[in-house]
Amino acid sequence: MSLLIGSLTIGLILSLLAFGILISFRVVAFEDLTVDGSLALGGAAAASLIVADWNPIAATLLGALAGATAGAVTATLHHRFDINRLLAGILVMTALYSVNLRVMGKSNVPLLSHPTVMSYADGLASTLFGDQRLISVSVWEAPGRDIAALLLMFAVAVCAGVVLFLFFRTNLGLAMLAIGDNSRMIRALGVNVGLMTTLALFIGNGLIGLAGALLAQYQGFADVQMGIGMLVWGVASVILGESLVRSKKIGLLITGAVMGSVLFRLLVAIALRWGLNPNDLKLITAVAVFVALVLPKFLSHGSRVVRRPSRA
C-alpha cells in the first residue's frame, strides 16, 4: 500500500514536469532539452536554500524560478543567437550540471534534518488523523503522513493544472497556443514569436523546476543526478496522457498529462515489483517512447506530440 501511495505521490509531483513538457513540445512546438538540467536545478536550489534555513515554500518557489530562468536562457540562445533548438537545450543542460554542483557545493544535499514542504504534510496528517499513525484505507493500512503527502501533492498538481488552464483562456495564453499551431499566422497578427516562445519556456521550465524542488523534498535529498532521464519520462507521460484523452483541447491535454504521469509511474512501480532490474528502466522508457512515437505513423492517427506538421 505504501508503494502505491508513494508512486501516486511521485506521479503527481512529476505531472508538473509533464505540464512543462506539454508547454514546450506541444504548445509552442519547441523541442526543449533543458529539462534534465532545469529539474535538477530546481531541486538543487531549493535544497540549498532549505539547508540555509530558508522557509521551505520560499525555497521551493525560488527553485521554480531558477528552472524558469534556465528555460528562458535556452529560448534566448535560439532566438537571439540563432543556435539550433536542440543544441541550445543541450548547451544549457550541460552547463547546468556544473551550475548545480556549484549551487549545492557537493553532489548530494540531504534534507532529512530540515523542515521542508513535507513537514506541512506532517501537520496536515495530525489535523486529519490525530494521533493515529496508521490509517486504514478500505482493507489496507497506510501511514497517515504518506496519505497527507499524497493529498498535498494532489492539491499542488490540481492547482497548477487549473491555473494553466485558465491562463490558456486569456489573450496572452491564446497567443501562446497559436504558436505551435500556426506560427506564421500569429506573427502576421502581431505577436513577437521569439519573445512569446521565451515566455513559454520560462513558464514550462519553471514548472519543471518546481517538480524538482518538490521531488527533492519528498525523497529527502537533492542530487546532481536527479534530472537524468526526466525529459524522456515527461515525454512518455504526455504521450500516454494524449492517448488517454484523445483530444487536442488544451484542458484535456492538461488533464491527460496528470493522468499520464501518474499512470506511467504506477506501471513502472508494478514492473519493478515484478522484478524489473532498475538499471534497465531508462532503456525501457526510451523504447516505450520510441514505440509510442512510431506506432501512430503506422496506424496513421493518434499522438502528434513530438512532430507536428509545420505549415511555414
Binding site: 489573450n171 496572452l172 495564453g173 497567443a175 499551431d181 500556426n182 502581431g190 505577436v191 513577437n192 487536442k248
Partner: protein
C-alpha cells in the same frame, strides 16, 4: 497611404542561385485605394507584398505607411497596421483552435495581449455578430476547431480576421487561387464587401484577369522585379481582361526578343 520608394531585394546574393526579386520598385497608394497586382510567375509580386509586410528587410529603398517609416520595423510590429491573407487557406488560421479563438486572436492584432479572458460573454457575442454578417452560417459553429472547415470557409474567416480591426493596409496574395470556383467567388464577394465598407487601402495580387480588370481602381503589372505597367483612372474603368492578356503577350514577345538578342550576342562574341 503606402509609399514604397526604390526598394530592392536580392535573395542568395553573390551565389550562383542569386535571384534579384525586386529591382527598384516605386509605388504610392492613396488612402482608400484598391490596387491589383498582376504579373507572370516569379515576377516578384509576393516578394513585394512580403517586403511591405516585413517578412524580410529590403536591401535598399524605403517603405512608409500612414506617414511612418516602417522600413526597419520587424514583421510583428508592422502587423499593427497591416492585415494579410495568404494564398494557402491553411496559412491564415490556427487549425486546432476554434473559430471563436481564432477570431479572438485576430481581434487583438498588434495590441498588447494581457491576462484578461479572451472570450468573455459580450466579446463572444460581438464576434458571433461579425461572423453572422458574412452570411455563411458559421456563427453556429464558433466552438468547432477551424481545421474542420473547408478551404473556402477558412479563407473567408481569414479575410474577416484580417479586417476585424481596420488595417491601414490590406495585403491579399492570390487569396482565391487555391479555392474551387464557387468558393473563390464567395471569397471575392466578401473581399469586395469588406474593402468597400471600410474604405480599406488594398494591395491584391491576383492571377485572374477578370478580377484584375473589373475590381479595384488600379492595376499594376510586374515583370522581373519591376513595375512595368500602371493603369488607373479612366483607363482602368475601360479595362477589359483581354487588354491585360495582350499586355502579357507583349511582354512575352519583348522578353523573347531580349533572349534571342542575348543569344545572338553570345554566338558572336563568346
Amino acid at each position: 497611404m503606402l509609399e514604397v520608394t526604390g526598394i530592392r531585394k536580392t535573395f542568395f546574393a553573390g551565389t550562383p542561385n542569386e535571384v534579384r526579386a525586386l529591382q527598384g520598385v516605386d509605388l504610392k497608394i492613396e488612402p482608400g485605394s484598391w490596387v491589383n497586382v498582376i504579373g507572370t510567375n516569379g515576377s516578384g509580386k509576393s516578394t513585394l507584398l512580403n517586403a511591405v509586410a516585413g517578412a524580410f528587410y529590403v536591401d535598399e529603398g524605403r517603405i512608409r505607411l500612414d506617414g511612418t517609416d516602417i522600413t526597419r520595423w520587424p514583421e510583428h510590429r508592422r502587423a499593427k497596421l497591416i492585415g494579410r491573407v495568404f494564398q494557402d487557406p491553411f496559412s491564415g488560421t490556427a487549425p486546432t483552435m476554434t473559430i471563436a479563438e481564432n477570431l479572438a486572436l485576430a481581434s487583438r492584432r498588434g495590441q498588447v495581449r494581457g491576462l484578461t479572458f479572451a472570450l468573455k460573454g459580450p466579446r463572444k457575442n460581438e464576434l458571433r455578430d461579425r461572423v453572422a454578417a458574412m452570411g455563411l452560417g458559421l456563427e453556429n459553429r464558433l466552438d468547432n476547431p477551424i481545421g474542420t472547415l473547408s478551404g473556402g470557409q477558412r479563407q473567408s474567416l481569414t479575410l474577416l480576421m484580417s479586417a476585424l480591426i481596420r488595417p491601414s493596409l490590406l495585403l491579399l496574395d492570390e487569396h482565391t487561387a487555391a479555392l474551387d470556383p464557387k468558393s473563390a467567388d464567395q471569397v471575392i464577394r466578401l473581399t469586395q464587401q469588406f474593402i468597400e465598407r471600410d474604405q480599406l487601402t488594398t494591395l491584391m495580387v491576383t492571377h485572374s484577369m477578370p478580377q484584375a480588370a473589373f475590381l479595384g481602381d488600379r492595376v499594376i503589372m510586374m515583370d522581373r522585379g519591376r513595375v512595368v505597367h500602371d493603369i488607373s483612372g479612366p483607363d482602368k474603368k475601360r479595362l477589359r481582361p483581354e487588354d491585360l492578356l495582350s499586355k502579357f503577350e507583349e511582354l512575352r514577345r519583348a522578353n523573347q526578343l531580349d533572349e534571342s538578342a542575348a543569344e545572338m550576342l553570345r554566338a558572336q562574341y563568346v
